[in-house]
Symmetry: C2
C-alpha cells in the first residue's frame, strides 16, 4: 500500500478537490488532533498514520470523496466511535479517515413493520432507548453500547451477552445503503424480514470491517420487547463446574438470553476493587450470571426455578435469583465491572476474545491457566460462555514482559483453533489478529477472500491493509 501514500504526496490536486467537497471545518489535518483518529481501544497497538480525517455529512458526499480518493490512489478508513478492539478503524498507509459520527439521525422507527432505519453514526444506546420507548427491542449489546455506533457494529458484526438467544448484529440487518469503491451508491438487502433475491451482500458486508463497501445507512429488524425477565447469579467451586453447568443449562430445553462466566481470578479482582459478590469466595471459585426472558412474570419465574435446579444438579453451591430490579442491577454491575477490575490487577492488560465449542471450553480455560503458570504471567477469564466465547485476560506489570505475553498468545490461539474454535467472537480481526488468521483459515479460503475483496475493491482503496494478508 506504499503506492497509496506515495500517490497522495505527489498530488496537490487532491487537497484542493477535497476542499471543494468538504467544508474546511469538517477536515482535520493538524497532526496532534489527527492522532485521536489514528487509534482505537486495542491494547498495545501503535497508532496508525492518516493524511487527514473528514467528518462525513451525507451519503452523496461520501460517494464524492470515495471517487476522489480512488482517482488519487488514496485509501479510506471508515470510523465510528473508535471503540473497536482489533484496530479495524486504525488507518494505515496514510489513508484518509472518514468519520461517520456526524451522520447520526434515526431516520424512522416503523412500529408496523418492526424496523428502524438509521444513519451509520447513530450510537447503539440511543437506538436501544428510542426503540424501547416504542415497546420494541434491538438485542445486540456490546459493552461499549453507550458510545459505539451502528456503522461500527455492522463493520465488526458486534454482539454481547444476549447473543446466546438473540444472535449478533448481522441477524438484525435487513438492508444497507453503501458506497462502493467506485463511488456508486447501492442499496442492498430488503425492507422485509424474508427475501431471497440475489446474493446476500448484506450479510457479507456485515463483519467485513469496511473493506468491501462504506455503509452509510442501515435498516434494522426489531423485535417486540420481552415483557418479563429473571436474573440469577450462580456460584460454583470451579470454573470447570460452571462451564459444565453451562452445557447442562443449554441442554435442559430452555434458551437463556445469556450465560456469563466469572472465574476465580476475576471474582478476586472484583473484591480487590471494592465490589462484594453476594457469596463467600471460599468455596465459590467461579460464578455464572444467567438471564432469561419471556412473555409473563410467572413464566420466567418458573423457567428460572427450572434453570436453578439444573444448575444445582450440575454442582452449583449457591443459586441466587434477583428479587427486584435493584438486585438485578447489582448482579449486572458485577459483570460490568469485570473489565475495569481486572485492569487494576496489573499495570498492563491484554484481553483476547476467543471462542471454542462449549464442550471444549473447560479445557480451554484450564489451558489458559496452565499457560499463565508456564510463562509466569497472571491470567484470568470471563465472558460469554453460553456461546463458548471468553475474554482471556493476561496481566503483567513490566512492559518488557511483552515478548512472553506474545509467546503465550501464540500458544493460546493455536490451542483455540486445535479445539475447533475461532480467533475472535466479536472483536474482529482488524490489524491485531491479522498475523494469526492463517492459523484458522486455509490458504484456499484466504485466496478466495482476496479474489472477493478484489471484486468489490479492485484498487484496494477501502480500509487498506486490513485483515486479509496480501
Amino acid at each position: 500500500m506504499t503506492a497509496v501514500a506515495a500517490g497522495l504526496q505527489s498530488s496537490d490536486g487532491f487537497w484542493s478537490a477535497l476542499s471543494k467537497l468538504v467544508n474546511e471545518r469538517h477536515i482535520v489535518r493538524d497532526p496532534e488532533a489527527l492522532l485521536a483518529f489514528c487509534k482505537d481501544e486495542t491494547p498495545f497497538l501503535p497508532p496508525g498514520h492518516a493524511c487527514a480525517a473528514v467528518f462525513a455529512q451525507s451519503t452523496e458526499q461520501v460517494s464524492a470523496i470515495v471517487r476522489l480518493c480512488a482517482e488519487h490512489g488514496v485509501g479510506i478508513t471508515p470510523r465510528g466511535a473508535g471503540t473497536g478492539k482489533s484496530g479495524g478503524a486504525v488507518p494505515v498507509s496514510n489513508s484518509l479517515v472518514l468519520s461517520l459520527q456526524p451522520m447520526n439521525r434515526i431516520l424512522h422507527i416503523d412500529t408496523q413493520n418492526l424496523s428502524a432505519h438509521v444513519e451509520a453514526g447513530v450510537v447503539l444506546g440511543d437506538l436501544q432507548n428510542a426503540v424501547a420507548a416504542r415497546g420494541l427491542y434491538y438485542p445486540p449489546d456490546p459493552a461499549s453500547f453507550r458510545w459505539c455506533t451502528i456503522g461500527g457494529n455492522v463493520a465488526e458484526n458486534a454482539s454481547g451477552p444476549s447473543s446466546v438467544k438473540y444472535g449478533c448484529t448481522r441477524d438484525y440487518v435487513l438492508g444497507l445503503k453503501c458506497v462502493l469503491a467506485s463511488g456508486d451508491i447501492v442499496w442492498c438487502g430488503k425492507h422485509t424480514t424474508k427475501g431471497v433475491t440475489g446474493y446476500d451482500l448484506t450479510s457479507l458486508i456485515c463483519g467485513s470491517e469496511g473493506t468491501l463497501a462504506l455503509v452509510t445507512e442501515v435498516l434494522l429488524r426489531l423485535l417486540p420487547r420481552p415483557a418479563a425477565r429473571a436474573t440469577s447469579l450462580m456460584g460454583f467451586a470451579s470454573a470447570k463446574q460452571a462451564i459444565d453447568a453451562t452445557c447442562a443449562l443449554l441442554g435442559g430445553g430452555i434458551l437463556p438470553v445469556c450465560i456469563e462466566l466469572m472465574d476465580q481470578g476475576t471474582l478476586k479482582a472484583l473484591v480487590r476493587s471494592g465490589m462484594s459478590p453476594p457469596f463467600k469466595l471460599d468455596p465459590i471459585a467461579a460464578a455464572l450470571l444467567v438471564e432469561c426472558d419471556g412473555d409473563t412474570d410467572a413464566a420466567v419465574h418458573e423457567v428460572m426455578v427450572r434453570l436453578a435446579s439444573v444448575a444445582e444438579r450440575a454442582g452449583a453451591c449457591e443459586v441466587l435469583v434477583a428479587q427486584s430490579e435493584a438486585e438485578r442491577r447489582a448482579f449486572w454491575s458485577l459483570r460490568h465491572s469485570l473489565s475495569e477490575a481486572t485492569r487494576r490487577l496489573a499495570k498492563h492488560k491484554v484481553s483476547e476474545d476467543i471462542v471454542v465449542p462449549r464442550a471444549q471450553l473447560a479445557e480451554m480455560v484450564a489451558y489458559l491457566k496452565s499457560l499463565g503458570e508456564r510463562h509466569g504471567l497472571q491470567t484470568c477469564a470471563f465472558g460469554h460462555v453460553g456461546d463458548g466465547n471468553v475474554h482471556a485476560q493476561v496481566l503483567f506489570d513490566d512492559a518488557s514482559d511483552q515478548p512472553r505475553v506474545e509467546a503465550l498468545l501464540d500458544e493460546l490461539f493455536r490451542k483455540t483453533v486445535e479445539l475447533g474454535g475461532t480467533l475472535t467472537g466479536e472483536h474482529g480481526v482488524g490489524l491485531a489478529k491479522m498475523p494469526y488468521l492463517a492459523l484458522e483459515q486455509s490458504n484456499e479460503l484466504l485466496l478466495l477472500q482476496q479474489r472477493l475483496k478484489a471484486a468489490f475493491d479492485p484498487k484496494g482503496t477501502l480500509n487498506p491493509g486490513k485483515f486479509l494478508p496480501s
Copy 2:
C-alpha cells in the same frame, strides 16, 4: 453458455475420464431417465437439458468431478430432491446434473454444543426427527420437509411458517464444506455460534443457488426444543382485517412462531375440496392460523389469551384455540391442504412467492384481487403474512390464457417492488424469476454480483445460466 455444451460435444475424453471417477451405476445417460433430473416443481417451466446425471458419493469425488468438468468446459448443476419452485436445480446448456441425494448421512448430533453435522443429501424431515428425539429443535420448515434436502435448503435459503420467530436456513448454518469451482475443498464458517474471522462466506453461499460453490456437508446450529405451544385459528370478515390484525399481533409485545393467512378464495377452495373450516364462511372471509411457543404450558396459554384479545380488538369475528393436539392438527391440516385445494380450482395454477413490508400487505392482496378482475383470471392468496410473505395464486383452465397470466404477473411483480417488497421470499430466483430481477435490483448491484460470481467461478462452471443475467 453455448461454449460449455460445444466444448463437451467435441470431447470424448470427458466421458472416459468420468467413468474412471464414477461407477457406471451412478451415471444416468438414458434420455428418458434423464428427464427426471431436468425439472423441478416450478409450474410451466420447460424441462432443461443435461448431458448426464451423476449420483455423488463423497466430497472427494465431487471435487474430482468439478475439476474434470472445469477442464472440459462442462457446467455442473447440483440437485437435491428437486422440490424447488424456481428452477434452481434445472440444468441448462447441457450441463451435468450432480445429485447429492446419496450423501444422506447425519454425521453427528452434538447435544453439548447444540449442533448437527450432516451431508447435503439429508432429508430435512429426517433431520427434524433425529434432533427431536434428542430434545432439540431445528426450526426451518418449508412445506416440502418430507422430501427436500438440507443441501437444497442451503442453496435456496429455505424457510416456512416458523420464520416469523425463528428465521431462515441461513440463520442456522454455522459452517459448510464446499467444493469450489477449482475443485478445491474448503471448510468455511465456524464450529461455534459466534465468530467474526474473515468474510462471512457461509452466509453468502447460503441462498446462492449452487452458483458459487457446491455444498457437500453442513454444520447446523440447533436450539433447545420448546416445551409448550398453543395454536389458534382466527376468523375475520376480510383479508384486510386479518392483515391489520397481523400487524396488531406483532405490535403487542409477543413474537408468535407463525402467522398464516387464508383469504376468502382459499377458504372456499378448502370447502370445495371437502375440508370443513370450524366456522361459517359467512361472515368470515379470511382466517389467520397463529401459533406461539414457550417454556411452559401455563405461559403459552396466557400468551394465547393475550393474542386472542388483541385479535378481537382488531376485529376478529371468532377466535378458536386448539384444546388438544388433535385439534391443533386439524387447524394445521387446513393450512397444509391449501396448496392442493387451490390447485383443484382450475386446470392450471401459478403460485407466486412475493413479499412486501407487512404494513403494505393489505394493499398488495387487494391489488392482486383487482388484477385478477381486470385480466379475467381467478386469484387468491395465502401464506406467511407474519413475514409479509404471501403465495399469490392465479388459476385458469385454458393454457391459451398464459399470455394474460404473464401480463398479470408482470404487473404483480412491479407492484411488489413499488411497495418496497421483494420478488421471492423463500422459493428463489432460479430461472423463473430471472427476467424480473432487474425490477428489484439496480444495475450497479447486478454488476457487483457478476463480479462476485466471477471471483468464485471464473469459468462459469457452477450451475450455469442461473439467476444473474449475463
